[in-house]
Amino acid sequence: MLETAFFNLFAGLSIFAGLGVVLSRNTMHAVMFLIFCFFNAAGLFFLLDAEFLGIILILIYVGAVMVLFMFAIMMLEVNVSKMRDNFLQYLPLGGMIAVILMIEFVAASTTGVFTEGAKATAEHLAMDVNNTKEIGQVLYTKYLLGFEIAAIILLVALVGAIVLTIRGRKDAKYQNISKQVNVRREDRVRKVSM
């Protein structure tokens, strides 16, 4: 009973926050709503006994990704009237996507996958099951290849981002820290006889 109540709480709040992301005028508020939405999604993970995934969701998405988002948004000057101008331009495409999604949802719900009894209800894990260990064991044995490929793709993206943005200006002044640290008194101070 308590679990259902918490599920409804988290699910309801995440839908509310999702609506807030789309509907709020102020982009900063939208970002805050998105963060709130991630929190509630993490709560849903906790209800499924997946505490590792829940914490990682907060650590990566809220703690890192959204900070960069916010950084970018803070620098923008948001012009609301300009955004309104483009509203009609995007309406057909957006409407089409909405209609397609709607048809998909209706089709999926009528196939009988969601009827009572068709859903597999999983038992709760025992307290001594360590989720982090289980995920690690599967990730580094069964799915090792996929894991390594993902890692290499991320590394390539990292190097690519640096290569694209580095300019290597020769005329720019820069500081040589070891030179600064190794400076002696004699290099800077000179006694002038008056």
Binding site: M32, I55, I58, L59, V62, G63, F71, M74, N131, I177
Partner: protein, 353 residues
């Protein structure tokens, strides 16, 4: 579970939370007092000694002054986020204490098995602390942006850069602890260090202890890294805050400082164990709080000793020195664990083999 049981359980939780939150608020007040006295002592002057005996009532007087001050909200500020920002920075600082084990007690033999003195003994305690402390960035960012003023926004951008940079080396430092302890549970990590000072992780992970503590210093924006609240920025992201909202920011800062000290003692300095097993007759909580108090003293000592870092020096230290060091140490520990011949050395600290 009946309604009465749930009410009792709720009451117990509320008491547990109060038993941690109230001492933290009090110790924050008195850390400010000791900070002023210790810096005064180091700089050969008195420090605060006027209010009450030896100035002991000074923190209360300061608190009263801050409560009575008018709260000013700038006209062009974003009101909701301006008021929300101090709360957003205080919340993670306090919530992180939920998983800290303050010791192990059998209540003078009343309970048969020793219980852990923590609100929640999470399996993923270490990750929880990392996740929660990474949230404190938002308070700073929001404060800077919502103030709608140029110095706060510059201060908050600097602060955020600093926090993101040092979080990474802190996280990698923690990975080495996990590799030795084989667990993310803070209690298990302390148990893995039982048996005297030689078993503490500060011996095999000494460079990580240094990196972790200095990164913690940068995370909380304490002095060598307080370039986010310098005079040139008119005290950075909280320029526009006054009265109680300002006090909330400093409460969060000092709370984070206590948290870093507790974590360093738990992860590297053997938690609630005494340096010599014979001294374990003194309750573990005393040891843990003593170690943390010493580390808080080190924080204050830093403040009285070091000049401030320049922005580029701070970034260089985080990315070019700490990050390679921590990555290198992860590699070294990994090689030691899995190379036949070398694993004999590290087995002394390895809890899981």
């Amino acid at each position: 579970m009946s309604g009465l049981d749930m009410a009792i359980q709720g009451g117990i939780w509320a008491l547990e939370i109060l038993a941690i939150a109230v001492p933290i608020a009090l110790s924050v007040a008195y850390i400010t007092y000791f900070e002023r006295r210790i810096i005064g002592w180091i700089q050969v002057r008195k420090g605060c000694n006027r209010v009450g005996p030896a100035g002991l009532l000074q923190p209360l007087a300061d608190g009263l002054k801050l409560v009575l001050k008018e709260t000013i909200i700038p006209a062009r500020a974003n009101k909701m986020l301006f008021i929300g920002a101090p709360l957003l920075s205080l919340m993670p600082a306090l919530v992180a204490f939920a998983v800290v084990p303050f010791g192990e007690t059998s209540l003078f033999g009343v309970w048969e098995t020793p219980h852990i003195m923590a609100i929640s003994n999470l399996n993923v305690g270490l990750l929880y602390v990392m996740a929660i402390s990474s949230l404190s960035v938002y308070g700073v960012l929001m404060a800077g942006w919502a103030s709608n003023s140029k110095y706060p926004i510059m201060g908050s951008i600097r602060s955020t850069c600093q926090m993101i940079s040092y979080e990474i080396s802190m996280g990698f430092g923690l990975v080495t602890v996990m590799m030795l302890a084989g667990s993310l549970n803070l209690t298990d990590i302390v148990h893995a260090q039982a048996g005297g000072i030689l078993h503490w992780y500060m011996i095999p992970l000494f460079p990580m202890l240094i990196v972790f503590f200095i990164s913690g210093c940068a995370e909380t924006g304490r002095t060598p890294f307080d370039l986010t609240e310098t005079e040139e920025l008119v005290s950075g992201y909280y320029t526009e805050y006054s009265g109680m909202w300002f006090a909330t920011f400093s409460l969060a800062e000092y709370g984070a400082m206590i948290m870093i000290s507790l974590l360093t003692s738990i992860l590297f300095l053997g938690g609630w164990y005494a340096p010599i097993p014979a001294l374990d007759i003194i309750p573990g909580t005393v040891w843990l709080l003593g170690k943390s108090a010493f580390l808080i003293f080190v924080f204050i000592w830093f403040r009285a000793t070091f000049p401030r870092y320049r922005y580029d020096q701070m970034m260089r230290l985080g990315w070019k020195i700490f990050l390679p060091w921590t990555l290198g140490w992860i590699f070294v520990v990994g090689v030691f664990i899995y190379t036949p011949g070398l694993d004999g050395i590290i087995d002394f600290w390895l809890a899981w083999r």
